[in-house]
């Protein structure tokens, strides 16, 4: 619509011949690209040539970048990583649902529901205040120690619960910040139409709030993917533990580097995507 109202010349000229300004800017761009390339190349070259000159390099290489050990252990690491993926796959939805429920608890206004609100506050304060690994230890060994029969004492169940408890506290806070970010005028508009508070939350506030916090939550889930490894403390042999076993058998740290590579292949694209979403949202807001 708006394009149609532009004078023909305005859009036509850019296609036909570049203006003086465009020629100048293209030149500036080319020059900065060249400089960036040269400086990056020098840094990379410096690392590649200087680091191996360090006296301990050979020993480090043998311990951390050992091709023989890598080849022998990498398939096993990949196999163990499937367990990480599985734990993540069942934890993530539980965390999302619990986080939402806790966020709603904290947002209740009815006086009768005050205990719920108090619970929400205590929950987020406590579980955001504890290191994940402590919660995993305490719940993962503590609850089964009460004498639950198998399979209900499985470290998978209680380790997952520990992850859910900690991460849902963070997700709840993120969702709550999303709820707070929805302008009061949206609630007013909904109220003026006679919508109940419940419907206002469900149809007007939450859909917008959750959309706003998708990037922030993605960062949390990337962190979760890494913290799944902490479940190994209570028994499950996921990739980090498997790498530890190989490390011990080969007296070599290369399996850790292999595990790190596996994590990076997954987390870097996810991080880039979250950043992209975040930037897109920031642009839309301005």
């Amino acid at each position: 619509m708006d394009d149609a109202s532009l004078p023909d010349g305005a859009s036509g000229r850019t296609v036909a011949a570049p203006t003086r300004r465009e020629v100048y800017e293209a030149e500036v761009r080319r020059r900065s690209n060249r400089i960036a390339l040269i400086s990056t190349a020098s840094v990379v070259l410096a690392i590649v040539f200087l680091v191996p000159l360090a006296p301990g390099w050979e020993a480090v290489q043998r311990s951390f970048f050992n091709g023989r050990v890598f080849a022998a252990t990498f398939p096993g690491l990949l196999n163990a990583f499937l367990l990480n993926v599985m734990i993540f796959a069942w934890s993530a939805p539980l965390i999302a649902v619990t986080g939402l429920a806790i966020a709603l608890c904290r947002d209740t206004r009815a006086p009768a529901l005050f205990p719920l609100r108090l619970f929400g506050i205590a929950y987020t304060d406590i579980f955001r205040g504890l290191p994940v690994v402590l919660v995993i230890y305490i719940i993962g060994f503590g609850v089964p120690g009460l004498g639950l029969p198998r399979p209900w004492n499985s470290p998978y169940i209680w380790g997952t619960l520990a992850l859910v408890l900690v991460y849902s506290a963070y997700v709840a806070e993120v969702i709550r910040s999303g709820i707070d970010s929805i302008h009061q005028s949206q609630r007013s508009a909904a109220a003026s139409l006679g919508l109940s508070e419940r419907d206002t939350m469900r149809f007007v506030v939450l859909p917008q709030a959750i959309r706003n916090v998708v990037p922030a939550n993605m960062n949390l889930f990337i962190a979760l993917q890494k913290d799944v490894a902490l479940l190994s403390f209570i028994g499950p042999v996921e990739v980090f533990r498997q790498a530890g076993v190989y490390k011990s058998l080969y007296a070599n740290f290369t399996p850790y580097v292999g595990a790190a590579l596996i994590f990076l292949v997954l987390t870097i694209p996810a991080t880039r995507y979250a950043d992209y979403l975040m930037n897109k949202q920031n642009r839309a807001r301005t």
Binding site: S185, S188, A189, A190, S192, L193, L195, F203, V204, Q208
Partner: protein, 243 residues
Amino acid sequence: MTAKLSLRGVRKRFGDHEVCKGIDLDVADGEMVCLIGASGSGKSTLLRCMNLLEPIDDGTIWLDGTDISEPGLDPQPVRQQIGIVFQSYNLFPHMTAAENVMLAPRRVYGRSRDVLRPQVERLFSRFGLGDRMDHYPDQLSGGQQQRVAIIRALAMEPQIMLFDEITSALDPELVGEVLDVLRDLRGQGMTMVLATHEMGFARELADKVCFLDAGRILEQGPPDELFSAPREARTKAFLSRVL
């Protein structure tokens, strides 16, 4: 004549600041009342009090002879009868225009989309938006969004419509299309209260114009009287600034 909506001694304060200092106002069935006055004179707050978006501190509001200002009264049924349109449209950005309009009738009256859709289609084409139903708010111009907001309020079939400076946020060339909608509603006999800066429009269509100053209705009367022969010095001063 019994008033459709009647205010007596309405007071509203925000903290230490009293915004409405005892407002008396009657709106008859089918009447169009315009509230004029400087920014901060209390026009918007008064409108928000009328459909209970803001609880009043003192005074009484009657709707069809029923006291709706009773503390503790459920405001929802009242809001279904008194619709309001805001300066900043306040459409729900995550829903299409049609979904914006259908949400409240679906949830409050329990009507299905299938039943609502034809009615909503009629409203959209009546206000020149027949081809914009499935657009999202950010794909619409300000004037179009404001018309959707009006349709959204109308879809609840209210008996009274409140308009809170609904053209103030619009580019000048878009004001006309929104005022046309009000003209249309006026022709249908809708009871309306407007807070507005459009003096020409108030003069042309209002049954009654009220001049608010510092939380009080300083002067009210038919537009011809108030605009051509204001009695109060402050009314004169205000009109000389805006006309």
